[in-house]
Symmetry: C2
Subunit: 405 residues, 2 copies
Amino acid sequence: MIKRIDGGVCAAKGFLASGVHCGVRKNRTKKDIAMIYSECRATAAAVYTTNLVKGAPLLVTKKHIADGYAQAVICNSGNANTCNADGALVAEKMSAMAAEALGIRADDVVVASTGVIGQPLPLEPIAEGIPMLVKALSREGGSDAAEGIMTTDVAKKEIAVEFEIGGKTCHMGGIAKGSGMIHPNMATMLVFMTTDVAISAEMLQKALSSDIKKTFNMISIDGDTSTNDMVTVLANGMAGNPEITEEGADFDTFMKALNTLNVYLCRAIAADGEGATKLLECKVSGAKDEETAKTVAKSVICSSLLKAAMFGADANWGRVLCAIGYSGADVDVNAVDVSFRSKKGEILVCENGAGVPFSEEKAKEILLESEIEIVVSLGNGAGEASAFGCDLTYDYVKINGDYRT
Amino acid sequence: MIKRIDGGVCAAKGFLASGVHCGVRKNRTKKDIAMIYSECRATAAAVYTTNLVKGAPLLVTKKHIADGYAQAVICNSGNANTCNADGALVAEKMSAMAAEALGIRADDVVVASTGVIGQPLPLEPIAEGIPMLVKALSREGGSDAAEGIMTTDVAKKEIAVEFEIGGKTCHMGGIAKGSGMIHPNMATMLVFMTTDVAISAEMLQKALSSDIKKTFNMISIDGDTSTNDMVTVLANGMAGNPEITEEGADFDTFMKALNTLNVYLCRAIAADGEGATKLLECKVSGAKDEETAKTVAKSVICSSLLKAAMFGADANWGRVLCAIGYSGADVDVNAVDVSFRSKKGEILVCENGAGVPFSEEKAKEILLESEIEIVVSLGNGAGEASAFGCDLTYDYVKINGDYRT
């Protein structure tokens, strides 16, 4: 059983965190740097953006956790440290400063940055911030860390769960940064997870790589795959369970806990997409296989036209059919059913690829809610998938029409 | 030499056109049906959407011009006649009514519809409109036809050119409907072209299929590939040139004329994208081949983030790099140069994949213009391509948040 508990990255034993304002951002009321620290070395796993343009911190992190271990995370917001000639040097230096201040190995640091691309990241504020972060590290610092990594995010995203493995109570927690340039591919925006489960680095990577295909890789805010997407998980083993080194019941439990966290964070990221007023979830069933269902779900959730219609609470289901049609998936368009669902009810709008009469009033009532499900049945198989997104609003345009200034 | 002349689909000899309000739309001031007629049978070619969900009119048109000939076009706006159980019947009936009124063969009619998906298209207004259209047919009716096919388009799109083949003066003209749900793939939005050139149906199709890969397939307004995209060209041979039946100088001249028309219509469609305030053109050079250049250009032009930045006249070039990186093209990201260009000048913002210092003031001045070029050099080959798009604005959201009502 996976039980939701309070907290975030400090819910697991032995993890401390902090977040402060150091000056990367001019706005002094906004925390812009975060740290997560484990009292002992932890196994580490990560997945990264597939964008050919990769943020310098990702390359450094990849090198650091190549041995399967890490002990701390340092992450700033406000500047992505990407497309800068000195990017790798700056990321190494940021990482080395954190390691020195914490008294840990230089290559046990996960380093990350998020914000504007192509502006040199100054080291001075980071050098000032690190001692503050170390001083502020505490069991209560998870929320501060969650704040420190936010950019245009409006809501802080954190979650923690409790479960049992090998008779031991285990914990897992995570924080995420989403909002814009979100269309993860094989990896995702910034997500940091911690757990006190004892699990080998190999199995930890296996769990993470498998789960993200159904979770983070199924989100799209705006179709733009960021240069700095990264999900990492640190597992410090302090729960005392027998180390998970192979598949089996314990690994399954771990996977369930991980999936609980990730689905929560996915929904939180989608709901807090730049300018979003609604969380959209496209649930596809009846596909010939899971891959087909995923392709269809993601195509629907990415349609600018559908996203704008959802903003206007307009049951314009033709745009759903259109997005299914151009998705590239092998689908019998004459067998497609579509309905819209929210806590106000469900309404069928299309059956066997053609419209059915429905109450526009009822549809409006359903679509005025803040969480909408677009339910698609393809009618010819057992493949299922969900994709997560948000509506397209005036505020998305506003935020991105003038992001740098 | 391809000379631009006044006019549209009636510039070529023997073509008449008209456009009227028939009642598919409620707004009586908006023309909602158009007709183009050739005094003799013409060879015909067309390309269609690759969306699996195809508008019923496309299927009927495909059948009608399978023999390589057509003599008239009938097209309504306000309703796409797509995803309707009786769609094919309605399109056949619409086509038959036009043929009867014109006294031509039933299978010599190109039929098209554009507008809302999934609402039955009533035949009554069409039946009323067709006699009006036939009566209004004239050499001056091209503009009315251009108006009759508009949906959320703000500007009428028509163009004509004059050129010489085999010592005969030839003409070619076209009209287009674009605006939203525009991301053509192998075919495009609605474009109707006419020419008095004598050309075999086979060579006509070859010319069209080849040209659209560089023109209409390189436009994106919103990433949504419509269910009703179609480009057709009718060639009635009335210029009296020796019929073009193979490649050679005459075919090359024809291709040049076709390309002139299509580039013009592409730019007109992109500039009049839903809500657009700016035409964007991404010009890519230095790619290892043309396909790579096209992939990169289209990825940049499709980025919601870049489109919003252009709306805000914000030189946020990191978003260009990001879009190049996730395009899937084989590119050395450390060799990429980017500059922004308009009639106010050109400014280099990124060299060898990293930012260079530039005047924000000058960049703003350049980006405040209504036609912007995003110039990308990949630095390692001879491949070139251009893609056409527009900015993402409040009005795009407004138009699509409440399109049906």
